[in-house]
Every structure is written in C-alpha cells, then in structure tokens.
Point group: C2
C-alpha cells in the first residue's frame, strides 16, 4: 500500500479499516531502513498511527502541521511523497532525518532543536487570522520537549491569542532518557485519571484539553482528531503513545533506540564499536571517580546524558550527584551558577549546539559574578556535527566572547584531564571546556595545567596556532613544511577566550606570518581575535576555519575541502606566503 | 527608626506593631529619593511590607534570599545596612539599583534580567543539601517574570528536587505593562478564589501552595511566612501586592512609575523632556502609519513596549496588529519566524541586552530558513546601556555572526527609515536593525536602501569605517584630520554581518590604514572581521570599540575615555600611524 501513496490525498482513499495494515507496513519499513542506516527509531515507531491519523483527518499542506524537533517525521515523509526513501535502499539517502523545506512543501521549517514548534505554529496561526484565512494549524510536540521554557512561553501566548490551534502532546513518557521535572507528575495524573483530573497543567494555562489514551490505535485517533478539528479555541490533545511501539527491543530499551546506529533486526543488538579511547569514556571515568572523594561534585545534564556516558545504571549509581534538569538549557546554566555560589562543584555537560539556548545565562548568571562552575561542551568539532540544526560552529562566538568566562580547548587527553582538575579546584572563574574529538597523547610532558599558551614546536618565519581539535591537522601541516625545509612554530593556545599576548608579542621577532586553525565558524571566532591583535603590527595573519553555513546533509571530508581546511591546502598557503 | 537598622538583627528588635510605622518611613524615603534621582519606584513601593516581613522572619545572609530581576531590592538594601543611601542625599550614589555582591554579602548575585532567580535558588538549595546544611532558601519573583521560560524550567526542577525551597510569587498584576499569557488567568482565578481553586498552575507542577491576599499588610505576611518557613517540600507563597502602593500617582499609573525619571512629588508630574527628535517617536510614527495600509504588519514586544512608543492607548489603537507576548524573548523570535513564514510582516522590537535570550532561536528558527521577519534592536549604544546587566555590548556577536541573518546599522534617520521600508518589502532575508542613538540627517542624498557599504568621504591613506551610532564620532575625527591636512576616507558599512569586499578591496590601492569604530564589544565584533579580512594584505587595521566588561555604575563619558573611544584619541592614533 505504502508505495502507492504519493500524497495525503492517496491516503484518504484507504478505508479506516485498512489503515492498521498500512501502519504495519510503515513500521516494517522504518525498522528495515534504520537497522541498516541508523536513525531515530523509537520516536518514529511511536507515532506511526498518530502521523497517519493526522494526514487522514487534516488537509496538508493547506492545513499546516509543525513537528517539534522533527526527528519523528519519518512517517510524515513517507505519507507526503517520500515513501521510496524508506522502502527502496537505492533511495535511502534521498531524505534527511529532519523536516526540510527544501525537500517538500509539507515541511514548513528546518527543525532540529526542541521546544520551538509551538512558537512557530502560534506565528502561523496569527498570520492566518490576520489574513482571514481558514485553514487549521497543528503542532506535534513530545512530552519531553514540553520541559523546555520556550514551549511554555508559547503555550501562554497561544492561550491568549485564541483561535483554531491544535496542540498534539505526544506523551510517550520519555525524553531521550526518562523525563524530569514537576510537570510530569501532572501528565501522569492525567493519564491515570483518563484526563479527568481537575488539576490540569494545560487548563491552568487557559487551554482546552482532550485526552486520548489509545495513541497507537489509528481509528481511535481519527475519531478524536475529527472531534477537535474545527475547535475555535486552542486545544491540547494529550495522546498517550508507546515509544518504540511494535519492535520489542525498542519497547524494552527506548533510550538506546531513541537514536540508533545500525543493528541486527532479529536480536536488536548493535555491532560492537570496539574499545577505542574516546572522550565519553574518559569523562565518565573521571567524574565517577572524583564523585567518590568529592561529595560536592554534581554532574548536570539537560536531558542528554549520553556524551558523558551516564547511562541509566550509572545515573542511579551517582544518586544525588547526577541531576537531569530536563530539556532546560537556560535553567541548567543558572542552576550551575547557583550551585557554585553555594559552594558545590557543578559540572554541566552539554552539546555545543544546544548550549546556544543559554547565551544570556552564560553572560548574566554564570560569568558576571565569576561563579566557579565547569561546563563540558561536546560535539564542537567536525565529526560531532549533524548538519545545520546540530552543529557546534558557534560555540566560540558565545563562550569565547563573554567577559570573565574562560573557554579552554584541550588538544590532548592529558591536557583535558588537567583542565578538569584545575577547573574543579579553583574558585574564581567560570570555566568551559571544549571537549575535542580524537584522543591523542600530549606532545609535552607537563604535569599541571597553567593558563598560558604552549609552544609545541619552536620554529621561525611562520607560526601555526591550532585550537583544540584542530591540533592533529596542524601537526600534519608542520611535518609537511619541515619536509620542505621550513620549520614552523606550533602553538597550542590553551584558552580561546583570551589571547596570550606575551607569546603573540614574542612571535613578532622572527615570524612574518601567523596562521590560525579552528574547527568552528570563522566569523566571531578565535582566529579573528588574533588577526585583530596583529592588525597594525608587522605580522600577517590568515585564519583557517569554517565559513558561515552548513547544509543538513553535509559530508565532513568534502566540507573540510570546501573550506580549505586540509593539510595540503594549508601547507600550500603557507609555502606561497612565506 | 530606619537609620537605626544596621542589619536585619536590628529589625527584629522592633515589635510587629511598630512595623507599619517603619514601612511608612521606608516608603517615604523611596518616594523622596526616586523623585530626585529617578529609579524603579512602583515595584519597590509594592514590596515594602513583603521585604520587611522577609527580613523579620528569616535570618539572612545565612538564609539565602534571591530577588528576581532585583530592581525591587531598594527596601532590601535599606534593611541590610544601606539605609543612608536612601535617607541621606549625600549618600544616594552609594548603591546602585540592582542586587550587587560587591556592595553587600546580603546580595548573592548580580542580577538584572528577569526569570533567573528560581534557577539560582534551586542551585543554592541543592548545594545546601549536598553539604547537609540547614538554612532556608527563598526566592522573590514577580508575576511578570513567571512568563519567562527559564522560570518555568526552574519550577520543574525545584519540584523534583524537593526540600526546603520557598518561592514568593509577588503578584502585583503587572509586568512593566499589563501581563500577557494564559497563565495569568490562573493567577486571577487563584486571587478570586482566595487560593482555593482546584485548578492551580503551581500545584500542577508539583509544588505546595499558600495564598496570601494581604501583601501590603506586614503582620499578615509575617504570620504566613512563619507558617511556611520550615516547609520540607518546595512551597509557593502567592502574595497579592499593589504595585506603587502608598503613592497615588504610582498606583494610578504603575506602568509610567515602573521606572521613572525624577518627578514632582506633589503632582507626580515629570519635568518635560522637550521635543527632541528621537528613535522612539520615529519608530512609532513609522509603524503606526504603515499598519494602516499593511494589515499584515504586526509589531511584537516581549513586555517592553516602551522603546517603540506603544503606550497603553496606542497599543489599544493598534489592536490585533500589536502583540505583547510577555517576558518571552525565545518565543518572540520564533513567533516572528512563524508569522513571516505564514505571509505576515512581523516587526519584533527588543532591547539588545534582552535579545541575548534568543541566540538559538535567531539561528535556528529565524535565520536558517531565511524567514523574512524584521527585528529592531534598541539600546545598543553607549547611552542605551545601564551597567553590566543591561548593556547591549554583545549584539554584534550574536546578530553579526549568524548565517543568513542581515544585521543593519543605520547612521541616520533617513537610512533607518529606508532600511525599514526595504526590510518589510523583501521576502528573502531575516533582517535585524541596530537602532542608533543620536538622530542625524544622512550625509548622502540617497532615496533608497541598497545592501552596500557607502563611501561618505573619499580620501586617501587612512579609511575610517564607522558602525551606525559611531558615525558622529567618526565625522569629528575626519574633521580633526582634515584640519591637520589629512583627508581620510569615511565609510558607512551599512551591514555589520557581512563585509562589502568590493569596497574593502578598493581601499588597498591608496590606503595604508583602516580604522574601525563600533559602540560594542571588540571581541567577536565587526572590526575583527575587517582585521581578519585584511590579515594577509598590505593594509594595517586598528579596531576601536569597547574592551570586555562594564561595571554596574559606569559613567558613559569616562567609560568612553577608558576605552580610547574619543575623537582626540582616535585622531592621535591615526596621525601617529599614518
């Protein structure tokens, strides 16, 4: 059936009685494709019936459907002309994993961060009303995303704005990991009372409310959606679904199957990834051990415990010393500031891309008073990026340009661990650490962290300053140049939020060119600080890094080439200019 | 009585029966000082009794009291050793208008942005519990601030964390202007049911709840606070107060007296400020007129309608075309994106300092898809700044470094209006406009906006590139240099998010030095982009702007001098280097 559906009109030709068979087909395609390609399995399995019912009842793209985060749009893509991208291995790469307006008019926004869809839908509804149009506006948002402050801000505005605005709360009782926050008790109360509890978070905000307990029963969903379809006031449809529904291993372990690498369909087992040294393990080992001797150490996550390796069992083990604040990056940073002020030793681990939520809190709550919290920023290197919605390009813009905040970029495992020691023992600075990519040994045998740039190789004429994860590339360039008879100075800047002016000044003596390397946006980044410092001095500067922009389906190696971020290109530049 | 109170211990020596007299004295001091000095009058008048009761019942600074925003800490300052700063005109300048740890151990954080205190207090409480300490943690947060998403994120975490955590919701039924958002209906329901409604926003989040209707009755407050003092689970004390209480003009018009310039105590009238041309009036006139012919134009504010001149009457007049989303900057940006996507013409006006809340939304929701919304960024010049918590230093870092987003910096009234026209008529770019300070006429007689840098004066040897509000200073420098026989090129870059490479390249022919001027942070700013562009070319660059950091009680002229941002210093630099 699935391959015959070219658009939602084709779907509407199918009888309600036949839809469960279609859903089974969709589910099968999801499991098949993701088992070989990887992807967001459990969230999509949970919304097979819900998405089918939505397209059955509403008339997209005239009716506007916005999927929060949009990692759960695989089924939506299948039903809006993109089925072959899930049924035919030759076409698996035709679509990416998130909503994408470039792919289809059924995808209204490029989405990837959570808790934004209600704001967007509120704007769409207002635009409709101003233009006296009559279509429906529908948001699908997960229970997890509703802990994000922006979603709450939007609910408030939606309630006041009024009009037709349908909010599907897809309650699968999960975020990526388990949910955290007081409002989840209310969701539970609503589930256990079949939506009848007088105390109702959504009604408290002035929204109408309907409970649908059978979120994986397509006929029941269609009936409920038809009831609310023409509502004249904003209405929450609280739908209870099962994350991972229909695939036992995902039902059993929805956290592992939230986003999954390829796996064996029969067993649900992932191929072993080997025992490569990586910063997730290194970080977990460090924190878990240190927690034992320092009872004031608290590791904080905002609903993404994976980068630090705190799986369910380890979280339990850490007890009061591990806090998941829910999807709440703004709160997380200020919470860490409060903990630090109170004498505790907070460590907030976060993906750089998501930390964009906290620019104001980093500036105002954390750094203005030098509250000594430690932030571990993951994914801000080319291999940690997942397209325009999940890239860590802009961390140095934020963390490198705020007064007081020290943003450190280790190049090696030893350097990283020494920075952690130092950050947790000092009490006068807010510190963030840019966790690198490849685990390498430090080229210097240093025992302790100091806040000074480090000269790794003393040369002449040209100096290469390489930020953190760009260090292996800089080493290659150095070897290339040495092979050509040019011995460059190689510098690890250690800190990207301040310049070590002493070292920079010393370079003016016997260097004519300084080249900077950073895996991040050039605009507003570290290299531009160096260029400005040398602006009126007799040293030329060239910055290597990433020009603005990144597509959703970029490929690291070719992206690096496009940006001239290769050993060959950098070597050539230096040889031409020296 | 007031001057005898050196700390809260002295306060506790006064009998409850005598406290109303003390409160009257405090109120009188507030009105007297603010009438001559300006300041946050109405918020402080509202919390005279509440603050007195808090210090009477709790034992600060062992007990930790966090004031959200902290513009309502004047009374707190009086009761914690700083009374003379309010009673003795010679000492009026001893304190600033916000909580300030440098002033007193009773002030825990430097605060100025809203909705953060609950996060900070949640961190303090967790630090207390980890260390098995026993003190109380108390937050005072206004009803207005509770529309901010961060406050909601914190309430969720507080509920889950448990333990002694007292949340005073100071409900004066106002933000700066009237409140907006669905949850205010619940506050109203709670007030009208004397806190007895089953449907209760706070209880829905899992918090205990007490209602105190007599928020300006000190004895009643003391009784209630004593009841909740030793709570073992987080407890909301919903206190109903009167904004402006005890001064009739402020009670009648709390919006005008939220923050007030000096006024006549007897009449409540402000001295007339003259009819100087200013961007508030210019913006209002433009938007109000354009709304008439363009029914798709919507002006959005996040609870600060003042910069665009939309007072209560004008908001009413604008009807559906003016939306106050509450204190919700994250939502506001994404809402504008949704409106733009839906075909409307949104204009979001905001203080640059508060827009720091929206870095992620600017990047992800607005600019990634080029949604054609227009942002008007106010206060990002030296005279629009109010210390470290209210400065617009970091706007170029955000708005100037995000892919796709165009950040325009007009130098003149005509330029500003042409940019507005252009921004509202085009449909392919997200546009932000940095509203300047002094209203000047454009030096060129151009009829229409074009996205290119403009050469204002063609000279040689040195070029000055002046961003928006720095243009008058650049003109002075030009005249200084011309008097010395050096005719500099003067350039208006128009856009600070991209470089006009054609003009920059043309300068290399007969210029050896380029000087950039911007009223904003140097690190990550516009000038550094220019320095990087010329990094390996034969043109020297020097950036003038602000070094990192700003104190709460800075004085513009001396701050500019410290940063070398004066005509004399810049002239001297150029003459020395050319």
């Amino acid at each position: 059936m699935l391959n015959k559906i070219k658009n939602p009109k084709d779907l509407k030709k199918i009888s309600v009685a036949e839809l469960p068979a279609l859903c089974a087909e969709i589910r099968q395609a999801l499991i098949q494709k993701i088992s070989t390609n990887g992807g967001h399995l459990a969230p999509n399995l949970g919304v097979v019936e819900l998405t089918t019912a939505l397209h059955y009842v509403f008339n997209a793209p005239v009716d506007q459907i916005v999927f929060d985060v949009s990692h759960q749009t695989y089924v939506h893509k299948m039903l809006t002309g993109r089925a072959t991208a899930f049924t035919d291995p030759k076409h698996y790469q035709d679509v990416n994993g998130f909503a994408n307006p470039a792919e289809s008019p059924y995808d209204l926004f490029t989405l990837g961060h959570t808790s934004t869809a209600l704001s967007l839908a509120c704007g769409l509804a207002k635009a409709r009303d101003l233009q006296k149009q009559k279509h429906h506006v529908i948001t699908i948002i997960g229970d997890g995303s509703l802990s994000g402050g922006q979603a709450y801000e939007a609910l408030n505005n939606i309630a006041e704005q009024g009009g037709n605005n349908i909010i599907i709360v897809n309650d699968n009782e999960m975020s990526i990991a388990e949910n955290h926050g007081g409002y989840y008790r209310n969701l539970e109360l609503l589930r256990t009372t079949n939506g009848q509890s007088e105390n109702n978070f959504f009604r408290a905000l002035g929204l109408d409310y309907v409970y649908e307990p059978n979120g994986n029963d397509v006929a029941s969903l269609i009936k409920t959606l038809n009831q609310v379809k023409d509502c004249t006031a904003p209405t929450v449809v609280h739908v209870h679904t099962l994350k991972g529904c229909g695939y036992q291993p995902a039902e059993n372990n929805p956290e592992m199957f939230h986003y999954t690498a390829p796996f064996d369909i029969n067993t649900g087992k992932h191929s072993t990834t080997g025992d490569n040294d990586n910063y997730t393990d290194i970080t977990y080992q460090y924190l878990a051990e240190r927690m034992q001797s320092d009872r004031k150490l608290v590791t904080i996550t905002s609903a993404t415990p994976n980068p630090t390796g705190f799986n369910a069992e380890r979280r339990k083990q850490a007890g009061q010393q591990f806090v998941d604040v829910g999807i709440a990056e703004e709160h997380a940073v200020a919470y860490a500031a409060g903990l630090a002020k109170g004498g505790a030793h907070p460590v907030y681990e976060v993906q750089g891309s998501f930390l964009q939520r906290s620019f104001d809190q980093l500036h105002q709550d954390l750094a203005l008073d030098n509250n000594p919290a430690t932030l571990l920023v993951f994914g801000d290197h080319i291999h940690g990026m997942g397209g325009s919605t999940h890239n860590g390009f802009y961390d140095i813009i934020q963390l490198g340009n705020i007064p007081n905040l020290l943003y450190l970029a280790p190049i090696s495992k030893q350097s990283y661990l020494q920075m952690l020691d130092w950050a947790l023992e000092q009490t006068t600075h807010s510190v963030a650490i840019r966790v690198p990519d490849a685990v390498i040994d430090d080229p210097l045998k240093v025992k302790k962290f100091t806040l000074q740039a480090r000269t790794i190789n003393k040369g002449e004429k040209v100096a290469i300053i390489a930020v953190g994860s760009a260090f292996p590339l800089a080493t290659k360039v150095m070897h290339n140049l040495q092979a050509k008879g040019l011995n460059p100075t190689l510098i690890d800047p250690v800190c990207v939020s301040t310049l070590d002016e002493k070292i920079l000044d010393s370079l003016t003596k016997n260097h004519e060119l300084v080249v900077t390397l950073e895996e991040g946006a050039l605009a507003g980044g570290f290299g531009q600080k160096v260029a400005a410092y040398y602006g009126d001095k007799n040293v030329k500067v060239h910055n290597f890094g990433f020009s603005q922009g990144l597509t959703q389906d970029f490929e690291p190696a070719s992206f690096l080439r496009q940006n001239g971020f290769t050993a060959a290109n950098i070597t050539k530049y230096i040889l031409t200019h020296c």
